[in-house]
Symmetry: C2
Subunit: 764 residues, 2 copies
């Protein structure tokens, strides 16, 4: 443990569990979510969506809809700028995004937005949708990854050539991109393997299942200045994307963040906002757009179905000597699956000299995928973590010993490139072995499994401000929507630095005009990166407080230190004050009250692009009971163990661990998009798309391990993503332990498990 | 002219007249003022006000009011903390403020708030007011300054002893304080005077006449966190005062500034906000409080009536050798008239070696006075500027020559203490002589007069932020309500520093949580002090842009300068880039787009307590026509000439000059509080309280003189206050020129002028 990560520091607030600052408003219903906002004279927008999975748009006639009383505007892609196919910034292609927001020329999935209506009521808007005439030329569609990659597949984008292949192919393909990661020589290394296991895995399209549907209100005034109220994971993203899509100045758009009722990666892009802005500009009135649950399923970011092939070679001692992985991920209708992240994660827990990972990004006639908690990692872990479990069984080595034997630790080179600094994989594995659950007895038809999960975590841009009030209380401004408790965490970190009570700190999530740029809340980056900014801004306030005290005392500022919320004189300064009989600490409230006289208001700010996010490891242990008659898998007991680096507010860390596990359990056992033969989504609702509810789950036990991240002042590493990574393989391993069957296809739902049981017993 | 004030600088945006950024919203009705805000479930508050000018409160029974259906709360001073009589900060006594917000023990003026009701509608709240039983013991009242100072006067505050008198008197008095300013030896100097003129002046109580009545909404949630939406001159003031009065943490209160429909000093304190907060805390619901016009007149900050005695001694050459002034100002019901400011201003334009100024702050049974544009200065100028005009006439010296002869200039010691730096009095007087109006012919019964006005202007605390957007546009955050065009002025200054188009800058007035502390908008301080903060914050952005460019170019940051919105390499850096064939300027948009890669978001901030406000001088020239039959004075022609230091947005400067002149004309000719014998205000409405409307005024001509303030980067000096100072004496001098009568009592209304005409003609 190094000193820089605060591991030797005695904390007063970090690690405590104060009542969240936004808690009262949320439990009493005062907090305003996306759809909770109305304006006088507001219009309501509804979207016309494609009934086809793939079709050419030959003609759209909006005249009858426009003629309906109460309809104020109808727009199609003709009403938004057509962007160059190459208009991109980083991984975001704005031409694709524009065509996803409103289809141009073609519809590419069932539910693809084709037109939008603004009317005086939702009922009238919906009535108008039925009056819009769209002439389609249906085209053959493709939903299946293997079929999409076949040479004769229906092509979604005639201009698309596979990226990452040299030379660039001259033929259009549904393979948007190919990527590769490798080290050593896999084929040579295979010679040292005593055992080689190769398996193929298949996972289904699933949805983030955020409880709050996407919603926004846009208001544009006569000189084009626009305000958007929206629920999202990144209001700066909404501002930047909307400006880019509509070719406006960023300074013309202000986005006010509403509370968010779940995002999980699904609210990291725009769907409704640019449409609401255009409708507001056209009508001169505020426009509200709220999705139905059906629309959320049909048209917003699912996580991709995948096909993954994993081949591990190990020697008799249980050391993996080589690994080969092929990951094929759905992108949905436009390029951009999380296959790269999946490829980066799949072998990250393993200390390997020889490996080859190939990734394929493939478009299909489904909605464009969006990020979903540790994007791409859960299917990858499903594959790697069940194969490693199988190797342990084949070699008759304790799976935990085998994992320790292959585990990365400080100094190991990660499969995705960098050398690991302090990481907590070994520590979480040791905590697993020590946990009573690990050795508890099992009942009939019960089995136990565990799996490791990895997520690299992100840093990115954060801006924060700390302002000292006249009475010594303080305000902390952040610009990241509070998804996982960042208000409480930021208040804790500011209280720690300032040395004041955490309830004297008011944390605020500010709009796009009143705080510097913040990247989207995601990648488990906020407590880490925004926390760094808050600490830095608080330290600027402390520094100024010391200077103000020094000026009042007329001593050198370097003779002033900060202790428990007070400026304290030291050295020569202390001697001088002692002589004057004035050697007493100066509390922050006194410094604040006198600030006008000593130079003006005391504020601190920091804007940074945070480096040094600490990778996160988690291990989950699960007991299942399998009903051999129905194939139903029951979760009997569940324990999550995770390295948090430093848990700022442990209750939130535990909440993330439990929430991620719950989502992973749903993904493992029941969730899947079901399409009919025409490519129409058959289960766009919570009754048919089966997410786990409280009754489906036991209490999920949590153990926080703390191996401080040396590159954060307090040792923080992200905690939000990694808990969704281990559940699928942990459950698959537990099912194997219970009934001796290896599940390699998701979901491990009753029909799928039953089919495997029947097959194993030699049935049909 | 020094270089530091930008006098040699070529400006691109400073001095231009861009369309104001908030203009469209204001002319189309989208801008939200104090009363334009509602919340679901909101209650409406009304105040019970004293029918007596002075009375003891014996008993308040609210039970019948509380029993009325729809009434949710009734409060009296028992529901707010009783503060120590000594609870003060700077000039603000919070015990007095608390007792002004809700009377405790005694009512001190007709209209004094006694209780407040929150009900489901305003009608029910008003009905409930009638059900509150208050038992009063009426006390003798005093409205007149002379009577209030008399030994046997009814005493408003039994605990009050005159401050500034040594030893402190042991007897209660209505004289709250005495102050003095002096230099040299007045009595000795009198020997050198060839002429001595002593005159007594009397001015009436007047009101700021802001068109928008005071209004706010307060919402408190279950953990005490409070949001207030209010129209004011200082939302940080509302936050600080409300917290102090209610003994809450400042961090518990957030104040969101609404647009302000006129303040003029009258919105620099709290009346309704603490009451709305308490009612919201009591009921758990949002509470709205809006004054009627009647309440605004009866209970909010008028400007004081005054009694001023001025004695000037001059020699035959027209040089004033000694001056003695006595200023007696009404404070209203609680101490705190602007007599000190009046005393500081009265002799400021004169270069004097010998003077004595005495000021008295006197309480009377009228509403507590508040600031009103150049608080205290107009009555003082009325006195001094008509006496100096009289001296010129007596000595038969051209009044303009006499003014020049006695005028302060750079290096003169101001009567209130400091040495003047660059000031523009002589320049405005020269501009007056050169103006065609000065020598235009006059008609029958017409007269011409001019007068000089002075205001020292303020600096105080300002915080500002500048944030660079990803596309090179920018946002400027200020925390001062935009009364005189500060959004446009701040955008101009930021555009000037950043080198971008002024319309690419979005100026924002932020709430108390999202910008550092800002003192109240007043004292003509915002363009000066907040402007300094904006310039400083912009320069931080520019510095960072240069550093980012240097890092991309891999050259030394000291080799990068900023030109026309681009980083430009110089010196060795330029040589290196030239060799690499890369020597091109890097535009701000490119730097902004790459900021994430070069270190994160680019933001600048500044918090300061601005020193070096440049004093302002103005001279007004007016032609009047007097109707000898009715005494009505008509303004025939009006020209204002004023030193703005540097006019950032000249149209706003002209607006201030015209607006101040219009208010001064109203004060001079018609405005006055009329009380009946019981101390009841008889004219609390715009029909009876006669302010000038457009039909009463000619087009007011403006001449901006620019003598840059050396202590501001652009040379700015405040412009908002001083225009109200010269109108009263200029008109009085013009009336004398027209009909030979010296008016020494305000208003110079038809009855008062007629009375003087009758008296002069020897009539009754």
């Amino acid at each position: 443990m190094s000193e820089s990560n605060g591991s030797d520091r005695k904390f007063k607030w970090v690690g405590t569990r104060p009542i969240r600052h936004d808690g009262v408003d949320k439990v009493t219903g005062r907090a305003n979510y996306g759809a909770d906002f109305d304006l006088p004279g507001m219009l309501h927008a509804c979207m016309l969506r494609s009934p086809h999975a793939h079709a050419r748009i030959l003609r759209i006639d909006t005249s009858k809809a426009l003629a309906l009383e109460g309809v104020k505007a109808v727009i199609t892609s003709d009403d938004i700028p057509e962007l160059a196919l190459t208009d991109a910034s980083g991984p975001t292609n704005f031409s694709d995004l524009s065509r996803n927001v409103l289809a141009r020329d073609k519809v590419l999935y069932h539910g693809h937005a084709v037109a939008a209506v603004a009317a005086t009521s939702t009922r009238i808007a919906q009535e108008a949708l039925a009056l819009i005439e769209v002439e389609y030329e249906p085209l053959p569609h493709v939903l299946d990854l293997r079929a999409a990659m076949a040479p004769d597949a229906p092509i979604l984008h005639d201009h698309m050539r596979t990226k990452g292949v040299d030379p660039t192919p001259d033929k259009a393909s549904n393979i948007a991109a190919k990527m590769e990661l490798s080290r050593g020589d896999v084929d040579q290394a295979r010679a040292y393997a005593d055992i080689i296991i190769e398996r193929e895995f298949e996972t289904a399209t699933v949805h983030q299942g955020d409880i709050e549907p996407h919603a926004c209100v846009a208001q544009t005034n006569e000189d084009g200045q626009t305000t958007v109220w929206a629920s999202s994971q990144g209001h700066f993203m909404i501002r930047a994307y909307s400006a880019r899509l509509l070719q406006l100045d960023i300074s013309q758009i202000k986005v006010i963040p509403m509370e968010i009722g779940g995002g999980f990666g699904g609210k990291t892009t725009v769907y409704l906002e640019p449409i609401a802005i255009v409708l507001s500009r056209k009508t001169g009135r505020p426009v509200k757009a709220v999705m139905t649950r059906d629309e959320v399923f049909r048209a917003t970011g699912p996580a991709p179905a995948t096909l993954i092939n994993v081949k591990f070679g190990a020697n008799r001692d249980g050391k993996v000597v080589a690994a080969k992985c092929k990951l094929v991920y759905e992108a949905g209708a436009f390029p951009g699956s999380p296959v790269t992240a999946g490829a980066m994660c799949i072998l990250a827990p393993f200390d390997l000299d020889h490996f080859l990972i190939e990734g394929y990004d493939v478009v299909v006639n489904k909605p464009k995928t969006a990020a979903y908690r540790a994007p791409g990692a859960p299917p990858a872990a499903f594959a790697a973590e069940t194969v490693i479990d199988e190797i342990a069984h084949e070699l008759e080595i304790d799976p935990l010993d085998l994992r320790r034997n292959n585990a990365v630790s400080k100094g190991s080179q990660a499969a995705y490139g960098p050398k690991f600094s302090d990481i907590g994989l070994l520590e979480t594995l040791d905590a697993l072995r020590a946990h009573p659950h690990y050795s508890a007895p099992l009942g009939e038809n019960q089995g136990r499994g565990f799996a490791v999960g990895f997520w690299f975590n992100a840093g990115m841009q954060s801006s924060a401000e700390v302002k000292l009030n006249e009475d010594g209380t303080a305000i902390v401004i952040e610009g990241c929507p509070d998804i996982g408790g960042s208000r409480a965490s930021m208040a804790i970190m500011a209280a720690e630095e300032l040395g004041i009570d955490v309830y004297k700190v008011r944390p605020v999530v500010a709009d796009t005009e009143t705080v510097g740029i913040n990247d989207t809340t995601g990648g488990s980056r906020v407590t880490f990166a925004t926390g760094m900014a808050v600490i830095e801004a608080s330290q600027e306030v402390v520094k100024q407080c010391c200077q103000r005290a020094a000026s009042v005392w007329d001593i050198d500022p370097t003779d002033v230190i900060w202790q428990d919320g007070c400026a304290v004189a030291t050295g020569d300064g202390a001697k001088k004050l002692e002589k004057e009989d004035k050697l007493v600490p100066m509390p922050i409230a006194e410094i604040a009250a006198g600030a006008a006289r000593t130079g003006g208001p005391i504020t601190g700010k920091a804007s940074l692009n945070a480096r040094g996010a600490g990778p996160a490891f988690a291990v989950h242990l699960v007991d299942v009971e399998v009903d051999r008659d129905t194939g139903k898998v029951e979760i009997v007991r569940y324990t999550t163990i995770q390295d948090a680096g430093r848990a700022i507010h442990p209750a939130y860390v535990e909440g993330q661990m439990q929430g991620g596990a719950a989502q992973g359990i749903g993904w493992a056992l029941n969730e899947e998009y079901v399409y009919d033969a025409d490519g129409v989504l058959a289960n766009p609702g919570f009754l048919d798309y089966r997410m786990p509810v409280a009754l489906d789950l036991p209490m999920i036990d949590t153990v926080i391990v703390e191996v401080p991240n040396p590159r954060h002042p307090y040792g923080v590493r992200g905690v939000g993503e990694v808990p969704i990574v281990p559940p699928i393989p942990a459950i698959a391993n537990a099912i194997h332990d219970a009934i001796g069957i290896r599940m390699r296809k998701l979901p491990m739902s009753p029909p799928n498990v039953l089919a495997e049981l029947v097959r194993a017993s030699g049935g049909a």
